[in-house]
């Protein structure tokens, strides 16, 4: 048993989740595969979105996977870092916009 919650080698076992629930696992991977195909957005654009989201949800597996995916697609490190900032900006913006709630409450409670 690994003595840490995250083991990089677990990423390549991801497909095994299907073994304990064939139908749902298969449906998930079909869906997942479909999402990242070329569409109205290019597969390249979707890879950058995935990288940004991977950082926002702080999934080390997804960060590894989409950094590699970006390299494979010839995405530059500058593009990758900008995508991470886009994610981070939304995440901090989401925190900060709640500041309005704090202000509203403060004002309501204050004389």
């Amino acid at each position: 048993m690994a003595n840490s919650y995250y083991d990089p080698a677990d990423l390549r076992k991801f497909g095994k989740i299907t073994e304990w629930s064939e139908e749902l696992g298969t449906k998930f991977f079909d869906y997942y595969g479909k999402v990242f195909e070329e569409g109205a957005l290019s597969a390249r654009e979707k890879s950058l979105i995935a990288l940004a989201v991977a950082h926002v949800v702080k999934c080390p597996y997804c960060i590894d996977a989409y950094t590699k995916d970006g390299l494979e697609r010839g995405i530059t490190k500058e593009e990758m870092m900008e995508a991470v900032h886009a994610g981070a900006a939304i995440e901090s913006g989401a925190t900060l916009v709640h500041g309005v709630q704090m202000m509203n409450k403060y004002n309501k409670l204050s004389m």
């Binding site: 390549r12 597969a43 390249r44 390299l71 494979e72 697609r73 010839g74 530059t76 490190k77």
Partner: protein, 362 residues
Amino acid sequence: MEQSILPEIKKAAKKSLKARENELASTNKQLEILNGGPFAEGELPYFKDKIAEIGHAPLRPRKLEILQINVGYMCNQVCEHCHVDAGPDRKEIMTRETMELCLEVIRNTGAHTLDLTGGAPEMNPNFRWFVEEAAKAGIQDFIVRSNLTIIRANKKYYDLPDFFKKHNVHVVSSMPHYTRGKTDKQRGDGVFDKSIKALQELNAVGYGMPDSSLRLDLVYNPSGAFLPGDQEAMERDFKKALKEDFDIDFHSLFAITNLPISRFLDYLIASDNYEDYMYALVDAYNPSAVANVMCTNTISVSWDGWLYDCDFNQMLDLKVGSKVKHIKDYNEDILNDRNIVISQHCYGCTAGAGSSCQGTVA
């Protein structure tokens, strides 16, 4: 990669593994690694078992289409990923006598493509004579794999674009990325600017222009421990960037997977990427690529005239499994009736859309 080993690898990479007396200069050592690790432990299947599942073992040639001749391992560059372990310190160069034997074969072969490679083939002192003679044989497609920087390396090479044009040579050149940083990281400082200049000069004599019959194709190898992305998408990105930034035109882009041998194997091991890379190759195994892997239509000739199933097997010193093993005894019918010699590096040819010197195969 650990930041701390990067400078070490970089420093070492100025010389070939052979000159450094690195243990991976031994082909036996490389084969031992390819047969060991996750394969010996049963975690990953051997290539022969994998292709047996679809009835392709033993792997057999189809019709011979490409004669690939390696005229020597000397090169003006020492790229980190080089599967030839080429460099200025390599002295293995094809002699004129061996070239004469090759010409005899070129004149009589059923192959439609002649593919000269190296090292930097242009550095062979008899290169020009050989090209002139070979061009007379009237082979349909005559490729020279040129690393581009050689054209700018020395005054004596400046006229290569005109020379190639005169003999209607099809130029295939490596270009790891359309940005300077990535290119120089893999191939060395200054390589990007020189390559751009060389491409512009090839364009100037007509190579790679949209309706030109002077073919100029680019080869893309990933600059690291990852697989090439979709060839068409990469070609689109390369075309757009090279046109917009440098007004460069070219015909096709071949996305080629780095095979885990020689200097690339050394890099994979030193950067602790070897196992992950082998898993990635096996994971990306595409059964429909197997029937068209390069060795099924190619014979590779080494600088000293030995025959191999492909340039990779040449670098692993895995000679053809035929009683004809040398160009002096060349016989296409006998050669074509052979079993191809395989090992785990072959997974590099069947990953994703497959990979060969002419790009994807599936």
